[in-house]
Amino acid sequence: MPLDVQGTFVSQKINKVRWIPEDYMETKHFFTGSWDDDENCIKVWGFETANEDEDVEYPRQLSEYKVDGDVTEMKFTNKNVIAVSISNGDVKMLEISAYDKEAPLKEVYTWNNLHNYGVEKCSCTSLDTLEGDIASIGEDGNVNILNGRRGDISQTIKGADSCSLHSVCFIKLNEVITGNVRGHMKIWDIRSSSNKPSAAFLLAGDELAATCIIHHPTQPHIVLAGSESGALALWDLRMNQFPTSLLNAHGGGVTEMQFHPENPNKLLTTSVSGEIWEWNMDMLTKKMSDDYMPVDDKTNMNVNSLMPTLHKAINTLHCDRGRTLCGADNEAIYLIKNLRY
């Protein structure tokens, strides 16, 4: 079946969108987090048919949770609980009822002003979760490791970076990697008490921000970072320092990347230039183990565009089997169906 794109205008710029996982069936619900509006909020949506005889399903808003600032990141800590970072420096854990999706979201834990410049507010720019732990980063350059089960701060790396941090990712239970506004990447061992990174390297020479970091789902030593310039960098952490590949990809900053949960060779990326692409990473990850990839192989890499280029930035994507959601700055969300994986 061909790709089927369906857009819905929602009157807010969407910065994050996440499917809410469901057991044994295809999920119909998802979260959105807005940014850059007078009043931002986290919303829960459900796909519903307008008329019974119609096939098309439209998203309908089920509940709304107002936040004081932009929603900068949303990640699940477990099936029903989502960790949210907000641009006023807060981190919240919100729970959605498994039975009644229309019930208002419940606050599990809140860390107010977790990131700050003393009295001045400072944005919490991103977070990552791993088995109930949360690593949050902010413009203040601090890294906080939060325990999502007990609700306390288990560790703070103060001054992890002298500039603002913009992306973070758990590599192992005890290791996180962060990227800052200049594209300076640092790996932190959470167990060590010294405030020194265990490794540090630069994304590219252009002094532009590392906007997102992910690791390969089955080969955790392979780490990918997206740059503000639109480039994609790939490291084999067994021999870091220099990226094994640096691909000039999108026309604008990479906003989010996700490996397809069902197929680790498929990567999806979105960008400020309004593109959403799927990548066939077979070639790249297979070649990783022995040597650099020959240049002529790079050109063979399979990249497809999933949607005609939008005239505004696409900020986020999340895929669940054959269906991908993405949220954009033109105040719309798009559902792309029939994605082959």
Binding site: S123, T125, S162
Partner: protein, 640 residues
């Protein structure tokens, strides 16, 4: 401007009288906003106590913008996509004829309006609060008329009409926007009972169907009359059936068609004059068919406005009318009634082909000029707009630009819609300058937004904005104290601004002189060529490198670097003491690391700048230098 003045009158009641005693002040803010505040003539001694007690209020006054309500924001965003497609196609249409594409986009606009109307309808039906419901209903009225005008505009200027014979399109327009007795007709036909004339709306329905040109429906309805088999009914039915219908592909020319049609109508007229028709309603139908003015005048009361009649008038008087020739029909129909609403004015102007007047009128619609801007732009790109000013100069593009500018500036005021506004502004040469000014004044809270603003600005080539936004972020970090030097330097480097980097570097050096550790070591050690933007920054970077070498006990290299920093003379005055005193431990190392030649150089610098050190410290340094010289004068420090 009038709208704003109205607002002041309402809001002033919120200001306590006391404020007026002190006099009142007013300043403009960003966009269409201003602030009213009590201006005290005498200087108040403000203590914490009095500050809390004061009744003074500051009022922010802004225009209420309909388009910022959530439902209409969808319209704004969706229309923006179509607008950008129009621009793209008009780029390519310079070489090719893209009439079909323009028509497609015009339909897209109409479907956007339709979606908007539907969501307004849904919201209005769900809304329980009376005031809000009324608001929705008033928006509905606005968008119904917008839809109606856009459709007529599309028919008259954008659509491709074979042979230019506009009648079928015109009838479609009338039927779509002024559905009237449609349900009654459907009901009657469905029940299919002979003797339907007992229904109270039977004749009204028949006449409306005749006027709207639904000949088949009218004939079917007439068949339901109990006297349908009588001669007079058969006569009318026959005439309706035999009416010639023009079709471009019918194989006859317009001239031929005109003759046969006139012939047919003459026949109808003779039937009418033969007084066969006894039933007065049936006679009225026949008179309508003959295009009798008095008949139309007589039925006009059954319609809400005169443009319901336009289709029928053209159909029964001159079905060969081309689309540029509808003025007369408009004038004739308008004469039947005396209602002169805004919508009537616009339709009249449209039929007359006076687009200038049309645009003037649609600017009065309170949709914040969404409609005026988009329609004008569409017509302009289709090449159908030609507007002359009083001196007969062509001002078409100026008119279009000014409408787009106004609409874009309006959107720039909104926190979220600024990027939409930007895409309108940057489509016109003057708008780019305006966008530059507005972007620079946009409040930016987070770095993420700063980066997005910079990215958008870069897209339109506004590199000045990219610089000033980055410089702004840098200054903000700088004012946050020494710990944030890293941020200040990073954004200074993004701005490629020497002065900005210099300020940040000076702040860092001064903080170090005051005893703080060197900030942003991670940044400085990896900055590379970015350091070359400014001398002080270079000094800071190299000095940081010196600290790194010293800490890793590479004294030789550290000494070499320090000496080169001293002798290059780029250090600011206040930093000399730190720089010179840093030589002390290197002069006292077990193995000498500073050569005799370098020692001489340091001595020279010390003597030239002895004022920056206290006498005690200077003497200490002199002693150390002398001792180092003694050590190295015989066996000098060799090159590695």
């Amino acid at each position: 401007m009038i709208g704003i003045f109205k607002f002041i009158r309402v809001n002033f009641q919120e200001l306590p009288d006391k404020c007026f005693k002190k006099g009142i002040g007013c300043v403009w803010r960003r966009g269409n906003q201003f602030t009213v505040f009590p201006r005290s003539q005498s200087v108040n001694k403000t203590t914490d106590e009095s500050r809390n007690k004061t009744d003074d209020k500051i009022l922010n006054i802004r225009q209420e913008v309909v388009l910022f309500t959530p439902i209409l924001r969808k319209l704004v965003n969706e229309a923006n996509g179509t607008y950008l497609s129009v621009q793209k196609i008009s780029e390519t249409s310079k070489t090719t004829d893209n009439q079909v594409d323009f028509l497609k986009l015009s339909r897209q606009y109409r479907s956007i309006i339709r979606v908007c109307i539907e969501s307004l309808q849904e919201a209005a039906s769900k809304e329980k609060d009376g005031i809000d419901k009324n608001t929705y209903l008033s928006y509905l009225t606005i968008f119904y008329s917008i839809e109606c005008i856009w459709h007529l505009c599309e028919i008259l200027y954008i659509d491709i009409i074979p042979g230019e014979v506009v009648l079928p399109f015109l009838l479609e327009w009338v039927r779509f926007h002024f559905p009237c007795h449609e349900q009654t007709a459907a009901q009657l036909l469905e029940s299919c009972e002979v003797g339907s004339e007992d229904h109270k709306d039977y004749w009204d329905t028949v006449i409306v169907m005749i006027v709207q040109g639904r000949i088949d429906v009218a004939r079917a309805l007439l068949k339901l009359h109990s006297a349908a088999d009588s001669n007079e009914f058969k006569l009318v039915d026959n005439s309706l059936r035999s009416m010639p219908v023009y079709s471009v592909y019918g194989g006859i020319s317009t001239g031929e068609f005109t003759i046969s049609w006139k012939h047919w109508q003459a026949e109808c007229r003779s039937k009418l004059n033969s007084k066969v028709l006894q039933d007065p309603q049936l006679e009225l139908v026949m008179r309508l068919m003959c295009g009798e003015r008095s008949a139309f005048e007589c039925v006009s009361v059954k319609f809400s406005s005169w443009f319901d009649l336009v289709g029928g008038w053209v159909l029964w008087t001159a079905p060969w009318t081309r689309r540029g020739e509808l003025g007369a029909a408009g004038a004739a129909c308008a004469a039947f009634t005396h209602t002169r609403g805004p919508l009537e004015q616009i339709v009249r102007a449209l039929l007359d082909g006076d687009l200038h007047q049309v645009i003037r009128e649609i600017q009065q619609i309170s949709d914040n000029n969404w409609f005026a801007a988009h329609l004008t732009d569409m017509l302009y790109h289709c090449g159908k707009l030609r507007i002359l000013d009083i001196h007969q100069a062509d001002v078409t593009s100026r008119l279009r630009d000014s409408l787009i500018l106004e609409y874009g500036s309006l959107l720039m005021e909104h926190k979220s819609l600024w990027s939409v506004g930007l895409s309108y502004l940057c489509g016109t040469p003057e708008g780019v300058r305006r966008a530059e000014l507005m972007l620079e004044r946009m409040p930016i809270q987070t770095e993420a937004k700063a980066m997005r603003v910079a990215a958008e600005a870069k897209k339109y080539g506004l590199l000045g904005v990219v610089q000033s936004v980055s410089a702004c972020m840098s200054t903000r970090h700088l004012s946050g104290g020494a710990e944030r030097t890293g941020g200040a330097l990073a954004w200074g480097a993004r701005a490629r601004s020497g002065p900005q980097c210099s300020r940040a570097a000076h702040a860092a050096l001064r903080a170090h002189c005051a005893g703080l550790p060197l900030p942003a070591a991670d940044l400085l050690l990896t900055a590379g060529p970015a350091l070359l933007v400014d001398d002080t920054l270079l000094l800071l970077g190299k000095y940081c490198d010196f600290h790194r070498l010293y800490k890793s006990r590479e004294f030789r290299k550290a000494a070499k670097l320090l000496v080169s920093l001293i002798t290059s003379n780029i250090a600011p005055e206040y930093f000399w003491s730190t720089l010179l005193l840093d030589t002390l431990p290197l002069l006292e190392t077990e193995e000498p690391v500073i050569s005799s030649e370098d020692t001489y150089d340091i001595m020279l610098c010390l003597e030239l700048r002895s004022t920056c050190l206290s006498k005690e410290k200077a003497d200490l340094l002199r002693l150390a230098l002398a001792r180092n010289l003694a050590r190295t004068v015989l066996v000098d420090v060799g090159d590695e």
